[in-house]
Every structure is written in C-alpha cells, then in structure tokens.
Symmetry: C2
Subunit: 464 residues, 2 copies
Amino acid sequence: MIAGTDIDVDGLRSALLEVIAEERRVNAGESIRALHADDSSPHPASVPDLVVFPHTVAEVSAVLALANARGVAVTPFGMGTSTDGHVIPLRRGISLDLTEMDGVVRFRPEDQMITVGPGISRSAVNRRAGEHGLLFPVDPGADASIGGMVATNASGTTTVRYGNMRKQVLALQVVLADGTVVRTGSRALKSSAGYDLGQLFVGSEGTLGVIVEVTLRLYGIPEHTVAARAAFPDLDAACGAARALIGAGVLLSRMELLDAYCVQALNRFKDMTLPELPCLLLEFAGSREAVQADSRFAAEVAAEYGCAELELEADHTARVRLWQARHDLPPALAHLRPGSKLMTTDVCVPISELPAAVAAGRAAVERLKIVAGIVGHVGEGNYHITYAFDPDDPDEQDRAEILEAEVIEHALACGGTCSGEHGIGIGKIRHLATEHADLLPLMRGIKQQLDPNGILNPGKVFTA
Amino acid sequence: MIAGTDIDVDGLRSALLEVIAEERRVNAGESIRALHADDSSPHPASVPDLVVFPHTVAEVSAVLALANARGVAVTPFGMGTSTDGHVIPLRRGISLDLTEMDGVVRFRPEDQMITVGPGISRSAVNRRAGEHGLLFPVDPGADASIGGMVATNASGTTTVRYGNMRKQVLALQVVLADGTVVRTGSRALKSSAGYDLGQLFVGSEGTLGVIVEVTLRLYGIPEHTVAARAAFPDLDAACGAARALIGAGVLLSRMELLDAYCVQALNRFKDMTLPELPCLLLEFAGSREAVQADSRFAAEVAAEYGCAELELEADHTARVRLWQARHDLPPALAHLRPGSKLMTTDVCVPISELPAAVAAGRAAVERLKIVAGIVGHVGEGNYHITYAFDPDDPDEQDRAEILEAEVIEHALACGGTCSGEHGIGIGKIRHLATEHADLLPLMRGIKQQLDPNGILNPGKVFTA
C-alpha cells in the first residue's frame, strides 16, 4: 500500500475552485468522498481528499495541470464497477469523477460510429445507437462507463463475435498528466499513420492519461437473433462442446458457460427452473437463413457432447431475460452467502486448454473448500471463478488468494494471461510482473515519460 | 535525405562474422547490396554497406547489440514490397534481411493460431493453414513477408470482414535496439494484462524493434464462398452502392472498387472482357444458406444503384482468377505506360465521405492530367489512386506529388487518415506531422526510449 501524501487540501480546493467555480463539483464532503473510496472488489477502501466533477475537457486539463504542479494524485472514477481496485485512490488526492461528462458529442449513424464523453454508460450508448438500428456490442455485465471500459480494455458476452474494447475504439481524446490534450486515431475505420498511441491508452487503467472523449464503432442490429440454452451432463462436456463450436467456425454472437452451481444460484435468486446442469448459453445472429443453418448445426455439435436438446428463444423478451439472468450471476452467488464479499478470477487461456483449465479450477475450488461458481466467455477461453468469501475470516481470505494464484499459475503455464478483461488494478500487480517480466521496464519507461511526477492513478498496474 | 554516416565497414563485417560465421550471410557483395537498396516505391535508392541474413533470434540480438554499440543504422528487410520507401536504408549501414527466418515455429490448428518467423510469406502461411481447413485472411496483394505486414499494419481485400494486421497479431517476439529480446501478448485470444506493447510494435515500421516471431490468428475456411461482379453506370453509383451495402450490414468478406480505367487496364493486360464500367468485386462467405441470402440481398441493393446484374462466381478457379486479376492491377496499370514508375495514394475516409472523396480524387486526376486508376478496399473507406508517371519528367513528378498532397488534404479535412494500410515510410512523413501533430512528441519520446542511439530504420515515420 502506497502511503498517502500530506497535501494542503484547503489550498488545493481553493485553487480548484478557481478552475471550476461550483462548490458541489469540488467536493470535500464526507459522504461523497466515501462513495469514491472503493469499487466492486474486496480491496480495502481509501478515501480521497477531494472529489472533482469536471464538465469539460478544458476543466480536466486545468485540474490535471494543477495537480501535476502540486504532486497531487488523481484517480479517474466512472461507475465504480471495476473489480480489482482500479478506482481506489490509494494515495488519496483527487478522485476525478467523470460521470457528468456523459454526453453524446457526435453521433454519425451513416458512418456507424458515435463520439461520447467518458462518463456515459454503455446502456445509454446502446439506447442512442438503437434509434438508428445500430448497436454497441461490448457487454461486460455491469452498466459500466465507456471511459472505464476503455481504460480496462473491457469485454464480455459478445466478444466472441465483435471483439473487446480495443477493437471498438476508433479515436480518443486524452488529457495527459501535465494537462496537454491529445487526440488519437481518426474517423477512418483503419489507419497505418504512425505509432498507434490510442492502443496504448486502451487498457492503461488511468495511469497514462485521462480519457475525455471516445469514438466507438457501432454495428447494424442483425436482422434475426436467436438465443439458445444447451445443458450438458458435466463441465468437461460443456467445455468440449464450446471448443468444438469455435473450431467448426459457427458464427456465434454469444457463448457463455455456466457450471451447475451457477445455474442453481440463478434458479434460487431469479426463481427460474433451469435444469441444474452445466450449460452453454448461445446466441446466433444474422439473416434468418444463416441463423437457422447455424443453430441447426450447433444442435448437432452439442448433441455429440451429450446435450439432449438446444432450447431456442427467438422472442426478444425471453432473450433479454436470459442475458439478464447471466448478468445477475454475481448477486445470485453473493445471495447464497449473506454478508460475504465476491472475488473473481479472470484468466484467459488458449481454447484447446480450456477444458483442462476449467477442470483444474473446479478441482482447486473443491480442494480449498471454496464456495464458487464457474462462468465464462468461453468463446475466447476466458472464464471466471467467482466466489463469495467472509472478509472477516483470515483463513477463508487466505484460501481465496491461494485459489487465484493457482488459477493464474495454471493459465500462464499453458500460454494464457492473468487477465482476460478485468485488468490488473491492485490485485494482479504481482501476476503481471510474472507474466510480462521482460516488458515491465518498457511499461515503466512509458509511464515515466507520460507521467513523470507519478500523479495518475498511482499504485495500479505496477508498483512505483 | 539523412546523410549516411561513415562507418568502418571492414571492421563491422569482421565483428559480425564473429556472430554469424558464414561469409554469405554477412554480405558486402555489390549485387546483393543493390537488391536491398530500394522497394516498390519511386523513392531514390540508397545502398546499404552490408546485408546480413540472420537465421535465429540470438543472431538478430547479437547483430543489434553490435550495431547499437557502434551507432550503425539497421534497416529490416522482408520481401521489398513496401510502397513508401520503408526498407530503403537511408543511412546505409546494415540491411537486415529476415527472409531466411521463414519457418513455422509452432502451428496450433486446435487453437486456430500459428507462430512463424518474420520472413515467411503470407502465401506460405496460408498454404500451411489450409492443410487444416484454416485460413490467414490478410491479403495486401503483394506476397509480402509476415514481419513486414506487421511492421506496416498491412491490410487488404478481406479487411472488411477480418480486420487488418493489428487485429491478427496475438503475440510477438521483438529484439530491441540494444539486443534485448522481449515477448508481447500470449496465446490467449484477448488480454487486459498491462499496456499492450504488442500494439505499439505493430505499425512501427522497424523503428522501435525488429520483429523476429509472430503469432497470428487463423480462421476456419467458410463452408461456402461466392464472388460477384457488379458493374455500375458511374463511379458515384458504385461508391453509393458500397456505402449502402456496408450500412445494411451485409456480411461481406471482400468488397473492392475498380474504376472504368482499371477495368480497361485489366482487360488489356489479362485479356479479359469485363464491361468497361466502374465495378464492385464482392465476396460472400459462410453457410450456403447465409451466402445465398446475402448475395440475393446485395443484388437488390446494387440494383437500386443501377447495377443490371450481379454476376456470381461460385467456382473456386473462377474466384481465384478474379482476385488474381484484382492483384494484377499495378502491373496492368504500369503496362499501359512502358518505362513509367507507379505511385499510389492510400487515404482512408469515413464511409459516408467515400463517394465525395473518390469524386474529388477523380476530378483532381483529370485537372492535373494524370493517367491514373482508382481502386480500393471501399468497405473500410480506403481507396488508392494509382498512377504511372515518368520519373525523368520533373513536371510530371511535381503533378504526381500535388495529387497526393491534395488527396491527403481532402481526407484529413473529412476526418480520415493519410494512410489506411501502407504506412508512413519516407513519403508521408510530412503528412503524419499534419495528421498527428499533437502526438509527435509522444511518438518521438517512445522512439527515444526504445532506440536512444537512433539505429533502427532511421529517417522513417518522422524526421530525427
């Protein structure tokens, strides 16, 4: 834990009020500060000295210039849904809440792109896109802010078809540590014009600059969409079917794995009656003819792995309910153990290694006597072990950490990565140091170049 | 033009022979050096002092360590098909020819990925992938080396479906200027583990490190593929149809625009009898049902823009012939003017701006009295004006440069980029400086960090 620096909060606040002349937006109130002290992770909270709510790029620039000159830490904050402590202001200072920069700056349906402020939620982007028959596909579950999703390179249920955030970002506007404003990318769908610095900011977790504007790709809403549930006799069969569907090149827009424990949790929490077996939730989208052909073929593949029937849901409401249930898994799992905190692993492995990796994860869960569900975006080999643990029980916390370390060790040994989509934050710093030991000096060098005073989200990604 | 440095070539050669104990592979022969003095562009040649042919990562590392210590420039060289001087050794020194590092290091069909040396050609990768029903989609026309395609972030006819090189690279092994070897990425299909330095090397044109190993995504060969030709009454109608097809979300795997002049050139060069009108060459791929539905729908859209008939080619040989004809356009255009050199623009604009951009390009060509064809990967808004000019006629050369500057100015004004896929090289340095003026200090800073002695491909991307 990085120690907080002693700063003159009153002096800082006065200086900030010269820039943002609205008391509410340069907020030292206890409750507001407490709301910016943690995220969805079990990492200990750290209360910022001030919470600043900018409205414009110019305000962000002025805040950073001021903080940089005084050596005050600045931690960007969106919806607070990060899962590994990303938005916890470890060195206190300023929590820069970007949720009031939530506008649509420019919507160009004819180019299938939209430019938004960083604080807009993904569901708001989708509502706006939908007015023109378009969709923004990335769906991490939580209704995260777009800025946060860029900062962690988020992905989710539709990544098997559309790719992660890295693939959706066409252009960024970023404020650097000293207040300089830069723009990356363009409105062209591709470019080979110099180093792609936009890609450097995607996934940088607020440590290289503050993202203040994002231009995203949008996609036509497919003519026809069908969701499907496929139950399997065991986890290995479900993983094998997932791997076979990918190998056969079936055009899936979603493929989620749930183990039997997750299905049980959903049945209880949502009052559903799904068969309590490991299952794949699938989605096919395209022309009606393509969807019919693909779902028929998928049923054949699933049958080879012991799936009795592919249950199709073409009705819009039923599909929304199905994916909402998937997204309700974290509360459903927490619900089974009142008073617990949730922790989740996030490894991604080569597809061929998925069945063995999931089996090893399941075995470790049982050996360590952890109450956990396994769920995953298995089309990319990304799966989560989500477990409810008692934060007041040191033994249970120890076992939770052993599980994460074992799962990551297994993933790295088979060519995978410690984080498929959640990012490094605080909790995976040591795992990143293992995975990319040779790259750490380069990462640190770039950090040093872009943020020489180390004010941007200190204590994340790597130690200072 | 950067002046060559005076180096002790004999001393350098002796030192290199300590590392690579094979005279042929540390080559000072005149003809070999001449073969490494230029590329496919009209930029003046510059002859390297030595051509080195490494066989292993360790050899590349040793060569770079040695060159770095002596301040000798190193310019990586693949197939020599770059179009803007990328491989011309402006400061002489070493041309590092990587074509003998052309092996398949690991092929993992079960994970749909392949790891190759940088010198392997894209066609060789495709042959190997095809043995397992897989394909490597990126198709820039020339049979370029994979290392070169990564270095320029190449794309081509299939980018509308599969994306450019940036989207295909899962992992890299790179030798830094001082000989340090680093690995980026993993065998997972996605990762949020720290800054994505792999993306920084993609498109860095040999200025940040030498790519010595590439892990690429592969894709299942679709069940059914149909190519189609659609002729239109004029260029504007063809562009409008392209834009409408993209807007309607038709799942195209290729969409190429050729103007009437290109069709004429092909008819003469390849003895074909295509209607001499602007046309779109399309390809649909997927399940048989999907292809039928998509091609039927595309025919309806094309008809709205005056296309009398979508001529389908399901036969494999006929399709190969069609795409080969597309790739033969540069020689076909050169053939119309014996003794000329070819130059090509490479802008990429937002899809909605494509019809106007192409019309403006066509108008500029006529005003400047340049003999040019317009061809493009219009699914992404990327089009090329390719023109044969007499390099000994200064007036013609001037007009050629005016054309490129005008086309780029127009693209930047409408939100596009100066290079969609060819890269900056020598010729677009000033245009990059216009497009990304605010990012240049960051790019230079990263270059300075990774290559403090400036030995890697000096004089490319930006001026020193």
